[in-house]
Symmetry: C2
Subunit: 443 residues, 2 copies
């Protein structure tokens, strides 16, 4: 506990750097300043670069043109912590229990990016850093990295590198080395559903006026058939089917459907017919409701016919679906299914394309060797259900591939109450950083 | 404005006597005490009678066995005021604007019951009260009068009367005399929808785990067909069809479908095929969503697959539907439509049977004469969409019919923000009380 590395992790997680909530702007700035201080003390040339949103932390080890350059990407922003009452300890008062640190952002992404920082610090202190390192740590990953694409274009030359390393994905099983070769994309939308001009008495008007809560529910219900397939016209048109070897890799993964059920706390899984849960999560697109609200939510009953309701939906995308196209199809779908007497306001949110990498390339193989060295077994090759939209920008703008080396435990509760990060993963991450940089230097 | 009767109305509306919210218990008690004081000063024998819930105010004019006895029923509790931000002026800081008093409960039911009280006060002062009056003013009407049924049984002898008068219904048009001969019943239910044991990352698990928000939406969508007909099996089995004369009375009502659309602030009405809006509201049963919630409701987006969602539904009933039977059918329906991976907790709420009266009986005709005398034209005969469950108990326990003499303006916004009561209706109500008691004495 007195390990100064753990103390630094606690300091880092303590910042409530919630990028989706505008009142946390100063907290994001303070968190970024903390990173600038840390990297500066390590001897890096470090800058806080303003964007239209939250600033980017950019740090570079002293450049040596004879060495390869590895860009390590991470983010210091975190998801909202609500519902607060569901946390065992407060989300921004990090606590160590059972060998884990609990706090919002502990896994996603503060613990993981800090492991890389501390690996580089060790190598610098030992005088053995085998590559040049660029740290690119942004503050808007949880709101779709909305300014990072422009940042990459503007700072393209400064960011020149050979390959990119990222730890922001999940292990296939606890402590199991995992290289993720694909991530889903995302497209977000909020639909606001309006009916009468004001809340009505459900007795005096009920039965004669369209109910926005009912209309919202019917719109949501129109998204799927009984077999879990999305009913938006054209939704699957661009979906690339899984290769045979991918279905075999999915079946061979140490992550089994039963594990997913256990992690999720369900006895029965659900989803699209014809696919395993591992495949549904990694290789199939979804339409998932993230929030819904309308009418009276308090204690007891209130006999109101509400004036409005809303829902938030995100679509997870797989190659070759495009966020803009999917949002356009979804908007068309909702407008087509909007009943008489109801008006919709549809707001398109952030989007990110899906990512796909060949795990048998030079750097892919180097990453697999580093993972095997640290964890003692051949890594699982997985497709991830989550989204890191910026990976596509790295490919397009910097022309470089990203290696996704998982440090997140399957039960880390990222995005949920009681998010946590095993200290074992934290220390393994520090070793993995050192091993990875050596393999990347030598390959 | 300096009229002491208006000052008394303002005092009465100022109490935040919200029966659905337990923190308002002391406010309900204070409001009841205020009524006790008022009736006591008028010379009535008055008592505050405890119940398992909020107390009942019971007041009686000095008894004269040679006179008929009229029981005047009302309620001092009010609906919750949320959403507070939608009010032009604060709900419990009553304001007079444009000849109306604005405040929660101004129409429903404080303004209306106070008009009756002041009518009796005038007659007492003039020494011309033509009947014995019993005031029965309860504090749980907005939560289904859950203790009043027992109260009637226990105090049956004290409440012996010839007929009951109530002003808690709506005028067919502004200033139009209206006798309501039917009200819908009600049956309330809350459905809580559970999925994973905790909120999940919608990327990491989305597509493989049943989403409670989606499940709640699909359950709600299963309630109606595209034509607005309720799909719960057996829901319409006990529904008495409208008589021909009733459809004619509905068509002849000064309240037209266009008025309902204007009041509701919609351009297009909705509802069950084959009926006018007036008929849908008065004579057809409904399944109306009063509230829905689940997942992230804050600013921006949060990519969560929520652990739970809920919805509140009320069914409005018509003769001869029974609340318990309808709730049992609804529960069966929801359980039958509950998808795999989802668990439901269903809580049955308050219920009340529909009410129906023959408007051509002796007292009905007396009420129609009083209405015509005060308002200068023959009253409309209407069926009301709202519910006063206790009417059925009056019939069953006291063996007496209730006369429903509307004082609520069509645009009074009962149960909604900016609830208001025209002062003209308040003063007409005082005159109507006097006229009604005279007609009832003489008939």
């Amino acid at each position: 506990m007195n390990d100064p590395r753990i103390q630094e992790l606690i300091e880092f997680v303590r910042f409530p750097s919630v990028s989706a909530q505008s009142e946390h702007g100063p907290d994001l700035r303070a968190c970024a300043d903390w990173l600038v201080g840390k990297l500066g003390r390590m001897g890096l040339e470090v800058r806080l670069v303003a964007t239209a949103g939250h600033p980017v932390v950019l740090g570079k080890t002293p450049g040596d043109p004879s060495k390869r350059t590895v860009l390590i990407y991470g983010h210091y922003d975190v998801q909202p912590a609500e519902p607060l009452e569901a946390w065992t300890s407060a989300p921004f008062d990090p606590q160590i229990r059972d060998g884990r640190i609990f706090g919002r952002g502990s896994t996603d992404n503060k613990g993981q990016i800090l492991a890389h920082i501390l690996g580089v610090e060790e190598a610098l202190l030992a005088g053995t850093l085998p590559v040049n390192v660029i740290f690119l740590i942004e503050g808007e990953e949880e709101v779709g990295s909305r300014n990072l694409g422009d940042f990459l274009k503007t700072h393209r030359d400064e960011l020149a590198c050979d390959v990119i390393a990222i730890s922001d994905t999940g292990m296939a099983a606890d402590g199991y080395p995992t290289l993720s070769y694909a991530l889903r994309g995302i497209a977000a939308m909020e639909v606001r559903v309006f009916g009468p001009s004001h809340d009505l008495h459900s007795g005096v008007y009920g039965g004669a006026v369209a109910n926005p809560a009912t209309a919202a529910a019917r719109l949501i219900a129109s998204l799927h058939d009984a077999g879990g397939r999305v009913l938006i016209e054209g939704f699957y048109d661009a979906v690339r089917p899984m290769d045979t070897w991918e279905r075999e890799a999915a079946a061979a993964s140490p992550l089994k459907d039963a594990d997913i059920a256990t992690q999720a706390g369900v006895t029965v899984l659900a989803g699209e017919k014809g696919y395993s849960a591992v495949e549904r999560i990694g290789a199939r697109p979804t339409a998932e409701i993230n929030g819904i609200g309308g009418g009276y939510q308090g204690e007891g009953s209130k006999t109101v016919l509400p004036a409005e309701a809303f829902f938030k939906v995100t679509f997870r995308l797989v190659p070759d679906q495009k966020p803009d196209e999917i949002l356009a199809l979804a908007e068309k779908h909702f407008l087509k299914h909007c009943p008489p007497g109801i008006r919709l306001e549809i707001e398109r949110g952030h989007g990110g394309e899906p990512f796909h990498l060949d795990p048998n390339g030079k750097y892919g193989l180097a990453a697999r060797r580093a993972l095997e060295k640290v964890f003692g077994k051949s890594p699982a090759l997985t497709r991830e259900g989550g989204s890191i939209p910026i990976l596509v920008d790295f490919q397009k703008t910097l022309g470089r591939d990203s290696l996704l080396l998982a440090l997140a435990s399957p039960d880390c509760r990222a995005h949920a109450p009681d998010e946590n990060f095993p200290l074992a993963n934290f220390f393994a991450g520090i070793r993995l950083n050192r091993s990875l940089l050596e393999e990347l230097a030598a390959c």
